[in-house]
Amino acid sequence: MTTINREATPEGDNIKGPNQLHNDLHDIWGNPRGLKALTIVNHTTLGLRFMVTGMVFFLIGGLLAMLVRTQLALPDQDFMSPDIYSQVTTMHGTVMMFLFAIPMLEGLAIYMIPKMIGARDLVCPRLTSLGYWCYLFGGIILSFSLVLEMAPDSGWFMYTPLSSSEYSPGLGSDFWLLGITFVEISALSAGVELVVSILRTRTQGMALHKMPLFAWYILAMALMIVVGFPPLILGSILLELERAVGMPFFEVAGGGDPILWQHLFWLFGHPEVYIIFLPAAGIVSTLIPVFAGRPIVGYGWVVFAITVTGFISFGLWVHHMFTVGIPQLAQAFFSAASMLVAVPTAIQVFVWLATLWLGKPKMKLPMLWIVGFLIIFVCGGLTGVMLALVPFNWQVHDTHFVVAHMHYVLVGGMFFPLIAGLYYWLPLFSGRMPSETLGKWGFWLTFLGFNGTFLIMHWTGLLGMPRRVYSYETGMGWDIFNLLSSMSSFIMSAGIAMVLLDFALHFRFGKPAKHNPWNADTLEWANSMPPSAYNFVSLPKIETRHPLWDDPNLPRTMAEGQHSLAVATHGRREMWGTDPLTGKVREIIHLPGNSWWPLFAAMALAVVCVSLLTRLYPLAGIAVVVAGLFLLRWSWENGAHPKAAPDAEVAPGDPPLHSRTMDGPGLWAMSITLLANGSFFLSYLFGWFYLWTVSPEWRMPETSPLSLVGLILAGVALTAGVVILEKLVRGLRQGKDAGLAVGMYSISALGFVQVAVTLWVLLSADLAVTETSHDAIIMVGLAYALLHGGLGAVLTLLQGLRVGYGFVGAHAPFEPAVVAQWWRYNLVTFWILVGALAVLPRVIGS
């Protein structure tokens, strides 16, 4: 392992003044203007784009909420028709959860994480860009359904059979399923790169136990996205296949089960709450020590609590389904797990209180929102424990009590800390301070309006008012509570409008901020305000959790180029690649520059989405191929490619470029991607076994329709491919690349053999995919195997070509190791599929 024990790279570069260094780095990292601004991959710009777009969707979601409250303000209102009301409530939840909360927090993480960990960008900048465009296009497509009055209307959870074609024959459900899946590409891409960036690009010396707590929270959130989103993606694909083609996954008569949708949805949906909460709690854990003027009490306890929350939140999904007829013992398991998750949350609350208690808190504007968060979120947590109790849950299920609880947790747990964080980091974004007066008015109106709306809604719910009804008769005892809720919601809106006004005005009228205005301890405040495109002129060695408290001169010395990698003559975008545990330097990571490919790929995917919506399947197929070509071309410009890093020269004493090693961040990115893929695959297996064991009308033929011999032949080809590939990778590790190109072509040929034989098995099975869920789910499994086999074959073929071009070889051995991971994954999942779909049914029988 290479470690760097020095203060600065080449002396020749240090002779340059800070201004010259800034200009040199700006030439490499700076953002283009005009149309080329669409090619920007820089995390600062894209983080801001995410957040601004998120706020636009927040305004749309908020407007929809106001329409709902207007409709419910008085009994027997006909302000909206029932159909429109259903669309408005569905879209309110959908927009707030999928188009505001997650992208907004991801945007903040994308913006903040590299700055906090002393890096110059995220590790996969083009992936950030792809994520943004997918989010924007998916959000626009989904929102457009409102304009067309075709919006989804089955609730933001899209329960089947209400969302199935029989009861929702229009395009509403399709807009939701396709739009959300499109947006989830964005969430997953951000999840993958945040994980890898946090683990592999922290500045020198920043060991895991010295990492800022915000990075711990984002690491947990990103991993939860990676594991938690795929079940919903699978569910969405299955439901869209049912609606478009008629595969009966959720239809009892065809051997499906509508409850399977609920399982897949809540396998995602409950972790989702914590995916939203954890980054917000990260903001709280960042701000409280700063305003208390002392380190957080119990750093290790917070790490403990984050980890527990991340895991336990995956064991609670059935508490959303207590009334669907699950056995009592199973309910008890989930009830217990639901209570367990209160423990780590409580630990964090006590840590925050103890830090405030032992420090000298300053009640600045961000702290006001933190205090509001503490009050509201603790109340929401307490009603959460109440809802974990099965008998109570049964009583208030589907009432406004649940709506009130949910908003206490989500608005209290996410929105209040978010605003606190935005106020805190505004000086970093703009170099200006917000208005205390406007900000305080905004807070109090929001806080009072929120509690007036949702505290009262608890009582409306306890009085039995069901959720999702568009109107109610007078005399039920709900009139006054609904009126008060609606009036308060408008007060809350006025508060939020004031906050947004403050944000907007401060860019023009805010007082110029002094450097590090809150006397914070973390590295983001070592940036210029607003930050430059490359973040830091030089990258420091960090040996403490509070770098700016322990060395107040650090921002100056960093800007003067007195630390590492203060060199720009090579023309590459560079930063450290460090050991995930110790923070010791391993290699120099070189990053790609601005690129059109992410935008083009996202546009092609948008065409796929729209053509699937409009049932133009041939066009969708063409667009898939085009998107694939764009993505492959993107992957071509890597490693030793002339547009990446053709010249591997580094300064004396510096470690090698990552593309010249066997352990670059791409390897980690592939591993994390495969983790998401594995979650998808496990969800599929869950669906298969669930329908097999639980579905009331499940029909399995006496003999499996799949040719076992064919599948074994395909598996042998795949296994042979993996064996050869492993041998070639072992050779590359030893610096040998003889026969590399031929080997890659041979492996690719084996991959195509696997695909051809699997395709033959599929076609010869003569599956009746629209008649039984058994055949339909087999079809999906084999399609999964085909896709993975095909992609593996193409990637290996490209590797063969790259060897020919000189982009891959003993001098640049990195990429075959990445492709090998894909093949290994393919091998494992293929044989599991063979076992689950073809062997087990033969052994156990129907």
Binding site: L208, G300, L329, A336, L581, V694
Partner: protein, 118 residues
């Protein structure tokens, strides 16, 4: 035992996630096992909690508790032997193993009081 614990490298941060992963596996095993047992061979309701299903679920739970408790003790010992980063890792891991152990105890308690498949 101590050699096994040494081989497990209990100061590695991977142990932050192993305990809770084991908890998750246990949780899926008892929930899924219960569902499959009820589908294949549901016991008669008159048997109450004294069924093979409850016994099996309890046995799996006790095994999980024993494993997690042993790892908790191992991490505690490791934490005492080290300083700095390694001590931090072992201490947090010990806490997480302890939570996972108690998590199994707490969530498994209904097995002793509630009949299956009802």
């Amino acid at each position: 035992m101590s050699i096994t614990m040494q081989r497990l490298n209990l100061t590695h941060p991977l142990h932050f996630v192993i305990g809770l992963t084991l908890w998750c596996i246990w949780f899926v095993a008892v929930y899924g096992g219960h569902a499959v047992a009820c589908s294949v061979a549901p016991p008669a309701p008159e048997q109450g909690v004294f069924t093979l299903v409850n016994v099996m679920l309890l046995a799996v739970s006790i095994a999980a508790i024993a494993l997690l408790a042993a790892l908790t003790v191992g991490c505690c010992r490791m934490a005492k032997r080290h300083e700095g980063r390694l001590r931090f890792n072992a201490t947090v891991s010990a806490g997480l193993y302890l939570f996972s152990t108690l998590g199994v105890v707490f969530a498994a308690m209904p097995i002793m009081g509630i009949p299956p498949c009802l």
